[in-house]
């Protein structure tokens, strides 16, 4: 049993994690005819909490409660994974990425998230406003405008052979490349990293 837990505690390779994530597609379809998609949950939360008479948020969100339970589970799963299957080893990162990020002013590579960015102390600073507030806004706005995120378009959409989802996915990647390769460095310089 202990060796099983030890085995679970290691980071899982892509060829285990990827197929398991892919199986979410048939699991949701077969359990209740549901299409895999996470960003919709953000819309349902808006519809439930602040619909404000906006047509886009006026629908029976209670019918989509499955989606909210799914994301609640995702948070719960995150808690269980770090609590019961936490990786005892320090976080491993590609040497070239570490070098690039060190040049940008990141020094702590021991956890999954850089503590220099993702801490409550940064909340009311330029760092917090850029990385959480603006970053989060772009994620929420962009996914809804695109009608899906990595799960709904890249995985569910491409799996079901829909070319608009492939277009969306290519544009996700283009946005990510542009930000990482060209905008992140000047942004982090301005923010004083």
């Amino acid at each position: 049993m202990q060796s099983f837990i030890d085995w679970l505690s290691q980071p899982w390779p892509w060829y285990i994690a990827g197929p398991l994530i892919g199986l979410t597609v048939p699991a949701l379809l077969l359990v209740g005819n549901k299409a895999f998609g996470i960003s919709s949950s953000l819309r349902h939360i808006c519809a439930a909490c602040i619909p404000a008479g906006i047509p886009f948020f006026t629908y029976d969100w209670k019918k989509e409660i499955w989606n909210l339970l799914f994301v609640l589970g995702t948070a719960l799963g995150g808690f269980m994974a770090v609590t019961f299957m936490g990786n005892p080893e320090p976080f491993a990162i590609a040497a070239s990425t570490k070098a690039d990020l060190t040049a940008l002013g990141i020094t702590n590579f021991s956890e999954m998230m850089p503590s220099e960015i993702f801490s409550w102390e940064n909340l009311f600073t330029g760092k917090g406003i850029s990385f959480f507030v603006i970053g989060g806004f772009l994620v929420g706005f962009g996914t809804r405008y695109a009608g899906g995120c990595t799960s709904g378009h890249a995985i569910m959409g491409i799996s079901s052979l829909q070319w608009p989802s492939l277009v969306a996915t290519i544009c996700f990647m283009l946005g990510g490349f542009l930000m990482t390769q060209f905008l992140l460095s000047p942004l982090m310089q301005i923010l004083g990293f």
């Binding site: 994690a17 339970l69 990162i93 959480f132 962009g142 405008y145 695109a146 009608g147 079901s160």
Partner: protein, 165 residues
């Protein structure tokens, strides 16, 4: 024929082509709990494969690691094979309904919104799924990112008709 009706009815409800739910039946508490369990497994995989890591996303967008490409690529391949199996054998859902794969017609929002999301993905290190898993893993400040993402979703919904689509 019934299949087609369901799909169209669902599409009418969602102006952005999002059809998350092709089921027309009311679900039992047991079924609803199944989604909670599936979500939990999904969250565990996200953390254990370190997909929630800001660093992994940086590796991906710097083309310095195969990990994320392997995860997404093999997930798509698995999903593709599964859908073919479901179609080929005309599998039904546990509720006895014919499985409906929603269609996503092309809109300008897919490239434009997709690009905007990509910018945010590289900053936050998270797409919507990992946001929830990051919070659960104890990175509580990501709650702020989540609230901002809700604000972004709301602003899109509020001003939807002004954006080219």
């Amino acid at each position: 024929m019934a299949k087609k009706t369901t799909s169209t009815a669902a599409q009418d409800r969602y102006s952005d082509g999002m059809v998350p739910n092709s089921s027309r039946k009311k679900e039992s508490v047991g079924t609803l709990l199944t989604y909670l369990v599936l979500g939990t497994l999904f969250g565990i995989i996200f953390v254990k494969a370190e997909i929630i890591s800001w660093f992994r996303i940086q590796e991906m967008f710097r083309l310095q690691s195969f990990h994320m490409y392997g995860v997404i690529g093999s997930a798509v391949l698995t999903g593709m094979i599964s859908i073919q199996v479901i179609k080929r054998f005309r599998l039904k859902s546990l509720q006895g309904e014919t499985v409906v794969i929603p269609t996503k017609p092309f809109r300008k929002g897919q490239p434009i919104g997709g690009f905007i999301f990509g910018l945010g993905w590289a900053i936050t290190g998270a797409c919507p799924g990992p946001l929830f898993a990051q919070i659960g893993s104890g990175y509580t400040v990501v709650l702020v990112t989540l609230i901002s993402a809700l604000a972004g979703t709301w602003v899109y919904g509020r001003f939807e008709k002004y954006f080219p689509n």
